[in-house]
Symmetry: C2
Subunit: 308 residues, 2 copies
């Protein structure tokens, strides 16, 4: 079993097929959030603080940090955001940018072993990002597209992922430090998007032996009841092999779906976390849904006795 | 693609990996329902009528009919129940008994092509049930256990299923008329139960090319928020290859999870049914959740325009 370790100065998270699913909170990201973008550019990080605390409260195990603001000094803003978030929480972070200089600025100030989000399969990207990942002892998200674009053939996307894993190895980055993102399209625009990703995930787990992640909210773009689609997608992807996702932990339906998937994969031992969440609370979980730290800090299965 | 046809006198249902998932309503079953058992034994079928109508209303595409009452004349009661249910609805039925004489009595009065539920892999069961299935031109649920019991090895269970499919072929029953039940155990008692079933389902689809079904409610036995576990299980099983389930259609969370899975498998064309259900109704679906016949009768994608 492949286990990926991501850490802050004082805490680590393990990602693996035999472990509870890891939710990487997606909220610290100004893309498509005009107000947040303007505030961050102007040096106002109050909303970043609130997003950080809300995602911790909702039970995120890691946080993604992105500072992609047009016409701004992204390296400086990303470094500042990383430092701010690390002053607020000991959750490990994913440092998210398409600009290599911003990734480096974030890595330079990061305390611990970060997840670099991301590298794609183009040669020039690989040759710029992988040395950085190695230099800072980080792990990296590998997105399965390359010069030829995003193939609709899941086996082509798998082979792109395989090539990135091999190139990472050439740079001294072990397989367990490459987390593959199979690239999820909106299902409303591409009805085969789900089956493609489920197939790639199965091959990543069974043949390539790597962990995986996914920008999960994308799948429901343009549809009503997005939370219903997102939750079902995640459970289906987990059954297929997905071991982490970059998504919104504040959506309760999604969080409960992931918790159920952990039970059904045998990764919530004795269903202890599920029982703790639901044995007193009503089915919608309102009373029990807001104690992520207690859930994490209290791992021994107090609820096991409720199983007949 | 393998498609199974089940029919009543005037209507048919198709089961297949490229089609919307089929829910077979499980409620007409006195097992564990003492009051219903007593009523049916005494000739009072008013509760059967109510269960029939409620399941149709909730959107079941087929209904399972079971009359397993200790010390009662099960063949006579099952035949009577089948006739009653067929007088109330044109949904195709699954005729459910462990007593061969009861299966035959039900088949003798059934109008259409029934689903026989079930045959297991023991030689004497196969030699008694398969000729009946052939005689009445029915389809059959094949449960993947045999003389040696229920193996915990999914590959052994797969090979039992394969043997039943071969024996059915010897009796002139084609592969598409055998629907395999991989046997789902409660996850609270057996943490590997989910992964076992997901693996068998994948092999049934990819290697054996048969449809599958599952008594889905069993998985959550003994756990709180059973609907949350059941819904997640079904979506994960659908991603793995499950094409139908015998379950409770009245549980709204389960029904919505299955609808989302249909979207994600590309089997709800243009997400038309999903959009129709949720574009006006609130996220809990309260306003739109009770019009199964309209949903079925109104297949063309009126909602497709809502996709950007």
């Amino acid at each position: 079993v492949t286990r990926t370790v991501i850490s802050s100065a004082s805490r680590h998270v393990l990602i693996g097929d035999d472990l509870p699913f890891v939710i990487i909170g997606e909220r610290i990201n100004p893309t498509g959030r005009k107000l947040l973008a303007e505030e961050m550019k102007a040096g106002d990080f109050s909303r970043v603080e609130r997003d950080t605390l809300a995602q911790i409260e909702a039970g995120a195990q890691m946080l993604d940090v992105n500072a992609g603001i047009p016409l701004a000094d992204e390296p400086a803003i990303l470094a500042k955001t990383v430092q701010l978030v690390q002053s607020l929480t000991d959750l490990p972070l994913s440092i998210d940018s398409s600009i290599v200089e911003a990734l480096e600025a974030g890595l330079a100030v990061y305390q611990g072993k970060a997840l670099v989000n991301s590298v794609t399969g183009e040669d020039d990207r690989l040759e710029r990002v992988l040395p950085l990942v190695k230099k800072y002892g980080a792990a990296v998200v590998a997105i399965s597209n390359d010069e030829t674009g995003i193939s609709e053939d899941p086996d082509v996307r798998f082979s792109v992922a395989k090539r990135i894993v091999e190139r990472a190895a050439d740079h001294g980055i072990p397989r367990e430090d490459v987390i593959v993102d199979p690239l999820l399209m909106p299902i409303g625009a591409m009805p085969t998007a789900g089956r493609q990703v489920f197939r790639i995930l199965g091959r990543l787990r069974d043949e390539l032996g790597v962990n995986s992640t996914c920008g999960a909210s994308n799948v429901s773009f343009g549809l009503p009841n997005r939370e219903g689609i997102n939750g079902a997608f995640l459970t289906m992807a987990i059954a297929s092999g997905l071991t982490s996702a970059i998504t919104n932990p504040i959506a309760e339906g999604v969080r409960h779906a992931v918790m159920a998937a952990d039970v059904l994969m045998g990764n919530d031992r004795d269903a202890a976390r599920w029982i703790r969440q639901f044995r007193v609370a009503p089915p919608d979980g309102a009373a029990g849904g807001r104690r992520p730290n207690r859930r994490r800090g209290n791992g021994a299965g107090t609820g096991a006795a409720a199983i007949p």
